[in-house]
């Protein structure tokens, strides 16, 4: 067969085959992977530049608005937004709110706080701390219930975001009920519950546990 085909033809075939293998290797194992890698790097760099540019523009705008922001920030600080959600303080506050709002009773449960780290918050060296809080309320009047909710929102440290609430009239007012109230017997006419999220921002260095994990077991009273 070699004699029929000839050494020149075989040599030419071998050279062409070798050239093809070399070219295919260069295309599919060198250039294309490198190009894909470069494309990924390029897209990442473009996104980073775009994000940074937006950041710079925003910072320039912030510079103009910094005085106004500073005032709001000070209010946030004073409201305890940078606190560590002290459960003992919360207990005292809820007792105080119960007294102020004149609700007959409030049973609360503060769940374990979850920590999350987000872009801008992380850049400022902080993490977000959020605890679910649930309160069951017994009251004589619905106004007391609303008062309790109002003071929870206003006086609790950090941000209190009400997620849901409900109230229900338990019994109608008749002579017996009026007599009972008149005699100073605590009479529950309204009952309800409030679920809210208690959120603050704390310095990252003050966090010892892994992010996303609860801080401590839930407390209840």
């Amino acid at each position: 067969m070699i004699q029929v085909i000839g050494y020149k033809r075989l040599l030419m075939l071998a050279i062409l085959f070798g050239a093809n293998v070399f070219l295919a290797g260069m295309v599919y194992y060198v250039v294309m992977p490198q190009k894909s890698k470069t494309d990924v790097e390029l897209n990442t760099a473009k996104a980073a530049v775009q994000a940074r540019r937006a950041e710079v523009s925003r910072m320039k705008a912030d510079y103009e608005q910094v005085q106004e922001q500073k005032d709001r920030f000070e209010k946030l600080r004073q409201s305890g937004f940078f606190g560590k959600q002290d459960r003992a303080e919360a207990k005292n506050l809820i007792a105080s709110i119960q007294s102020t709002s004149r609700v007959l009773g409030a049973t609360y449960q503060i769940g374990a706080a979850a920590l999350t780290e987000e872009g801008a918050v992380a850049e400022s060296g902080h993490v977000l701390m959020s605890s679910p809080v649930s309160v069951s309320i017994s009251a004589l009047d619905d106004l007391d219930y609303y008062s309790f909710m109002y003071w929870m929102e206003k006086s609790f440290p950090g941000h209190v975001g009400i997620k849901s609430f409900n109230l229900e009239r338990k019994i109608d007012i008749d002579d017996d009920v009026l007599r009972q109230i008149g005699n100073g017997v605590p009479t529950v006419l309204i009952s309800g519950s409030i679920d809210f999220s208690w959120s603050t921002m704390i310095p990252k260095e003050s966090v010892t546990q892994q992010l996303g994990q609860p801080l401590s077991p839930p407390k209840s009273q």
């Binding site: 050239a19 760099a45 530049v49 940074r52 912030d62 709001r72 940078f82 918050v121 400022s124 975001g161």
Partner: protein, 549 residues
């Protein structure tokens, strides 16, 4: 070396004559006789292969048999078989017809319109069988080809491949002279001195003759007499094939002008006679011979005609030729494919490399931009830090607080508006409000979509459910009226973005409640209160939906 030599129009033509092998080279504008090598030459194969290698470098070789010893059997009828079996049947019939001749071929006979002969259509068709013995000249030529390492276009018979040339000449002449002849005779003297006659009927090879005559180089009178005599002999043969003078006959002779005139004087009365020099005939056929030593030999014309063909009339099937041709053709095709693949890969490599280099350049530019933007960012941070505040902390805390607000209920205003609308007369039994957070956008597969603007705060929605009760003594129509009025008041008190809907009306007795009632008896005064009565309060339910912010 040409990439696809067997497809190239430049060829090396080997004409196997009775005394010698004639080596021609055909190209774009010329046909050149390279050498004439007698069979008796010492080391014939080496000489021929050297000549081919030296003179026809890289060109494909076409072998044309012009020997006297060619065998034809016309009118061979093939039984009707499936198309896939036809080749095997023809091969068997060829083997039976020429058992001792290894080089064989079959040509289907067609009518004047170019269709398979109608008379034989009912069966498998009529065929012309041809065969060539493996004579010493043929085997020597094939051995030389094997040595030369050239690719082989094919092995053909000169008179068969010349038949379409004769038809082309006849068609052109008949068109010019408005004649219509069924027969055409082409006469041309070859270098070996013999006169080759190719006779066609309706454009198909009908007969061929090869006879020795005197050379035109010497006495033209003798040449004219010899040719005229051979032509007359041919006519007598043709009469046996059914030739009649009414059919018309075009006769072409390759000769010098004076010899052609003399020949016309002798045989012109019996036919439409035309005489040309080899170059004149080539011009009529649209091919170019270039400079030739003489103009009265027809070999160069045959070589030029066969050299320009892409497809042959009757390629002969020869095991020895195949044994050389098939591997070389396969190698050539493989080389061509590899060459094309190499071109494609080269293009790919260049385009991908170009794109890569371009991306690298763009990446460098982006990195430069990134450095500049980072410097701007650091400068802005320093500028803001110089103010004495941690601006990132200020901004992130304010943003976080804003986002928490957008995800929470702000119930005081809502409660106030509901209180105004309800008033003192209606009895609100139950109020329930729940926030619904914003659902993240997802694609069709349920994967979360990236937020186009991460700083944008999207507010969720809430649903408030108000449950009222009415005393059972109230007329349902009155209860419905009061609920409808309450809905109207809620709509007017609440922001326009809120939706207020009565989901349960007073008289809408739901199947979830127990229902008690009675109807009066004839003769008894109807009394609603004394027979049976519904002592359950009526219930109504209204929902309010709206955005959290």
């Amino acid at each position: 070396m040409s990439v696809l030599p067997f497809l190239s129009s430049a060829r090396c033509i080997l004409i196997i004559g009775d005394e010698s092998l004639y080596i021609y080279e055909t190209g774009g504008n010329s046909t050149r006789l390279i050498d004439t090598i007698p069979w008796t030459t010492r080391d014939f194969e080496g000489t021929v292969s050297d000549t081919i290698r030296r003179e026809c470098r890289g060109k494909s070789v076409l072998v044309m048999n012009d020997m006297t010893d060619q065998h034809f059997k016309g009118g061979q009828r093939i039984p009707k078989v499936q198309p896939l079996d036809r080749a095997n049947v023809i091969a068997r019939r060829l083997n039976m017809a020429f058992p001792n001749y290894p080089i064989r071929g079959a040509l289907q006979i067609r009518d004047r319109a170019g269709k398979a002969a109608t008379a034989a259509n009912a069966a498998g068709g009529l065929y012309l069988f041809a065969a060539v013995p493996m004579s010493e000249p043929v085997s020597k030529t094939l051995a030389a080809l094997k040595l030369s390492m050239s690719s082989i276009t094919g092995f053909v018979l000169l008179p068969v491949e010349a038949s379409d040339m004769v038809r082309a000449l006849a068609d052109k002449v008949m068109k010019q002279e408005r004649t219509n002849s069924r027969w055409a005779v082409f006469m041309g003297q070859h270098l070996n001195g013999s006169l080759r006659q190719v006779i066609t009927r309706d454009g198909q090879l009908a007969m061929t003759r090869m006879t020795p005559i005197s050379d035109l180089d010497g006495d033209s009178t003798a040449w004219v007499n010899d040719v005229a005599q051979e032509f007359k002999a041919t006519l007598s043969y043709l009469t046996r094939f059914g030739y009649s003078s009414d059919d018309g006959m075009e006769v072409f002779a390759i000769a010098t002008p004076s010899a052609g005139e003399d020949l016309q004087a002798q045989i012109g009365s019996e036919c439409n006679f035309h005489h040309y020099t080899a170059s004149e005939a080539a011009n009529i056929l649209g091919i170019r011979l270039g400079l030739q030593d003489d103009q009265y030999h027809a070999d160069a014309l045959h070589a030029a005609w066969a050299g320009k063909k892409k497809k042959f009339i009757l390629p002969m099937d020869a095991v020895d030729v195949k044994r050389i041709h098939a591997p070389r053709k396969a190698a050539t095709i493989a080389a061509a494919l590899l060459f094309c693949s190499g071109l494609y890969l080269t293009w790919m490599l260049m385009s991908q490399t170009g794109a890569w280099v371009s991306a690298r350049g763009e990446l460098d530019a982006q990195r430069k931009d990134q450095t500049e933007v980072e410097a701007q960012y650091d400068a802005e941070v320093k500028r803001l830090e110089a103010l004495g505040f941690d601006v990132r902390l200020i901004r992130s805390s304010l943003d976080s607080f804003k986002r928490f607000d957008a995800e929470s209920l702000h119930p005081m205003a809502l409660i106030q508006d509901i209180g105004k609308a309800v008033g003192a007369d209606l009895r609100l039994d139950r109020l329930s409000v729940a926030a619904e957070p914003v659902k993240p956008a997802v694609d069709s597969a349920g994967r979360p979509l990236p937020n186009a603007n991460p700083n944008e705060v999207k507010a969720g929605t809430f649903t408030a459910t108000l449950t009222f009760s009415f005393p059972y003594t109230i007329e349902p129509e009155e209860g419905i009226r009061q609920v409808n009025q309450l809905q109207q008041r809620l709509v007017s008190e609440l922001p326009s973005t809120y939706a207020v809907e009565v989901v349960k009306q007073v008289a809408d007795l739901s199947y979830t409640d127990s229902t008690v009632g009675a109807v009066g008896s004839p003769g008894v005064a109807p009394s609603v209160n004394t027979t049976a009565e519904n002592t359950e309060d009526y219930k109504a339910e209204i929902t309010i939906k709206g955005p959290l912010l």
